[in-house]
């Protein structure tokens, strides 16, 4: 026990305490001045909005993918199943490069019909950050929903359908209530990951202040010049992200109420 607490204290608690301490270096007014500066506010806002959008999208598509992997059968399913973990295993900086290979300057998705021109080059746009966040968030939702779906009795679904429920009604009334806690756990992990993500974003975002500069990148380039101000922004980012995580936890507690009686 002594070993575990000492280890955690030295490796985790001390550094975090040091960063919180640094953030108070220029007093409360200094803290507030940095945190409320337009550029910091813009970066924090962008992080929260894009992470929320990416995580909601992932909740929908991740659940569909999990359902297909559990209930459907087709050739090559085990390969598809293995690919889900790729964003988790791939170094984030490589993930950024991989995304850029398809959605970067030399994108092969380039359609010109008459005067209509469309290409999928997302470099230096918020769209690029959104795609990068979708990429890193996917395994968290799929991997938490999958086991819950396996546990969930398929006979219930079949019964609902044989009693005349439409596919949508079956999903809403039978499947969703069973897997919602799983979705929420996955969403929480995906959100925590998205809020802090840097590797997958740093190469494609362009890091333009007020436009494509997310909080983690905002911090990244300021730590050396302004440690106290950066520490203040870091503390706010932590507080924001923990508030959302607590909110998701509370929601999960609400939807699992009946199980605890």
């Amino acid at each position: 026990m002594g070993f575990v607490t000492t280890f955690l204290f030295v490796i985790v608690v001390l550094p975090i305490a040091a960063i919180v301490w640094t953030s108070t270096g220029s007093g409360w007014s200094g803290f507030w001045e940095v945190v409320s500066s337009p550029q910091a506010v813009a970066a924090l806002k962008l992080t929260m909005i894009l992470s929320t959008l990416a995580v909601l999208t992932t909740a929908v598509f991740g659940t569909i993918i999990a359902w297909v992997l559990v209930r459907d059968s087709f050739r090559g399913k085990s390969v598809v199943n293995a690919i889900i973990d790729l964003p988790f295993a791939l170094p984030t900086i490589v993930a950024g490069l991989v995304i850029m290979a398809l959605y970067g300057p030399r994108t092969p998705i380039d359609v010109t019909i008459g005067s209509f021109q469309f290409d999928a080059n997302l470099t230096f746009t918020r769209g690029a950050i959104y795609v990068a966040l979708l990429f890193v968030a996917l395994p968290f939702v799929v991997r938490t929903v999958q086991p819950v779906l396996i546990e969930l009795d398929q006979e219930l679904e079949d019964a609902a359908k044989s009693l005349g429920a439409s596919n949508l009604a079956t999903f809403r009334r039978v499947v969703l209530p069973g897997i919602l806690p799983g979705i929420l756990s996955g969403v929480a992990m995906a959100f925590a990951r998205a809020v802090g993500e840097i590797g997958a974003i740093v190469l494609i975002a362009g890091n333009l202040p007020f436009k494509t500069e997310v909080a983690s990148i905002h911090l990244f380039y300021r730590i050396e010049q302004d440690p106290e101000g950066s520490a203040a922004v870091a503390v706010v980012l932590l507080a924001l992200s923990f508030t959302v995580l607590l909110g998701i936890g509370a929601l999960r507690w609400l939807v699992t109420r009946h199980e605890r009686g």
Partner: protein, 263 residues
């Protein structure tokens, strides 16, 4: 929506988000194989991979010991605050790597609480120790998270039987507990290694990114990209090696997973 349309949506999403980009990346790498190979065999790249390997070995060793002990305390320990400990171990997963790196600078940097080392010639920041510390920090939960549920599942009957028959605590651990959790440990080690090899944000802040000295493989990729001047072969080449490693890790995970649930 019917089964077929859902399958179409799922596969389409994966195709656009993962398979398509990955295939394009492989294609781009093959466009200039000589350039990619030259970048991979560059002495500074080799040094970067060696550093990544060294850091990963240390992080894996430290966190395997810590993870097992921590899981034993959480599941078998007889103390208050076990639930808190269980939640606390996961904390690094909810921290931005940037904040992890920054917190190490705040602690060990020349102006930090433990800045004495940095000021007196025992460099931690901008040197290998900080890269090791950052990697240990971000990979902390993986072994413990895998071992905790397995320990719960196997119960204490066999351990108690061994102790009744006169085995010491140590013997019980080596002969009974460790063999029954070994696949969970191995799975946790694979996850730890994957994350440690791929860590970018935390390492980028603490390492100083000195070519051939404190530059890890992921930092090397970033450098190769930032200073590409239109020639992306080096960045794609080094990335390809890392991606191949990641795919190897995936295969390992698939091989290990069935054993995990079989016990």
């Amino acid at each position: 929506m019917g089964r077929l349309s859902l399958r179409f949506v799922a596969l389409g999403y994966l195709g656009l988000l993962i398979i398509g980009p990955l295939a394009m990346m492989v294609l781009r790498t093959t466009e200039d194989l000589d350039g990619a190979w030259a970048a991979i065999t560059d002495p500074n790249t080799v040094a970067a991979f060696k550093l990544t390997l060294l850091v990963t070995v240390i992080a894996v060793a430290v966190n395997t010991v810590f993870g097992i002990v921590c899981a034993l305390v959480i599941v078998r320990g007889n103390i208050r605050g076990r639930g808190f400990l269980n939640a606390f171990v996961d904390l690094p997963l909810s921290l931005s790597p940037v904040i992890v790196g920054f917190s190490l600078v705040a602690l060990y940097g020349a102006n930090g609480w433990l800045g004495w080392f940095q000021r007196n010639g025992y460099e931690i920041i901008f040197s290998t120790p900080s890269i090791v510390l950052a990697s240990i920090f971000v990979t902390l939960p993986f072994v413990a998270r895998e071992v905790v549920p397995t320990l719960r599942e196997i119960g204490t009957e066999q351990e108690q039987a061994a102790q009744t028959l006169g085995a010491s605590g140590w013997q019980t651990f080596w002969r009974i507990t460790l063999p029954s959790i070994r696949w969970a440990v191995v799975y946790g080690v694979v996850l730890t290694a994957a994350r440690s090899i791929g860590e970018y944000g935390a390492v980028a802040i603490v390492s100083g990114n000195i070519e051939g000295v404190t530059q890890t493989a992921t930092l090397r990729v970033e450098d190769a990209y930032q200073f590409a001047y239109g020639n992306y072969a080096p960045a794609y080449g080094i990335s390809f090696v890392l991606a191949a490693t990641a795919i190897l890790v995936l295969l390992l995970m698939i091989v290990l997973q069935p054993k995990e649930s079989r016990h």
